[in-house]
Symmetry: C2
Subunit: 151 residues, 2 copies
């Protein structure tokens, strides 16, 4: 339809790379969603462990606003991915990898919230939006955020 045989429209030569670039971006955003849940769980589990010394499926479920069955299923996934350990009826704990991820996620979360607040976003909205935003902030952007806050 649009690509006539010989008279291709001008600009077609630079459109193929643009297509690929855009596809890569969308793909990146999609895969970020896949890890976002894991990050949320790990961060929350670290919180609970630090706060009360234990992370139980029911508490996790309540805090995330999902059923306990869903929480348990996701915890299984955490175990599969080597981020957590859990024995039946014994609560959830983080592996070294899980702890590392939790620390990185927490630092990123704080940075994002601080930047939003510095830009004039009310604290409550900043916390709320950061929950979704943080999973899509690259290392590069994170560094820029850090530099911005130190000035």
């Amino acid at each position: 339809m649009s690509q006539s045989p010989k008279a291709k429209r001008a600009g077609a030569a630079m459109e193929l790379p643009a297509e690929l670039t855009q596809a890569r971006r969308f793909g990146k955003a999609r895969s970020a969603q896949s890890t976002a849940l894991l990050e949320d769980y790990v961060e929350l589990i670290a919180d609970l462990l630090a706060g009360t010394g234990e992370a139980r499926p029911t508490d996790i479920a309540r805090r995330l606003g999902v059923s306990h069955a869903t929480a348990i299923k996701t915890i299984s996934r955490l175990k599969r991915e080597g981020l957590a350990t859990a024995r039946p009826y014994r609560g959830v704990f983080l592996t070294a990898a899980g702890e590392g991820l939790a620390a990185r996620v927490r630092a990123r979360h704080r940075l994002v919230v601080d930047v939003l607040v510095a830009l004039g976003v009310p604290a409550e909205a900043a916390e709320s939006d950061a929950e979704g935003i943080e999973h899509h902030v690259s290392e590069t952007t994170l560094r820029a955020f850090g530099r911005f806050l130190n000035s």
Copy 2:
């Protein structure tokens, strides 16, 4: 386990609201993911229509980096939600609602990119991260971004 009948730990009284607030935040982030795909499609379709006058499933698929079958399935969802119209072998078009959404999404995208760049994020990373971030920026935060850029 943790909640003994009478000797509840201090701070329990303020934890229930906190739990609910956090659950609401996570729920919001989850449902945002659900609309993110639709927003991406609508924005892209508007782009294609503006650029070449037509939006074909194969082009959409290529730009998003998915198979054409996936694109077609999602286009069906757009139709179901009243955002687009499409007749077999005739390309995709936006309804009034779709156009409106596309306009809002595009404006938001630009604003997010501009803010990132203003914060010192390299243009390429800004574009890439914005793709994921934009879907999680609330109206409140958006307004703050606007105010920030005018100063």
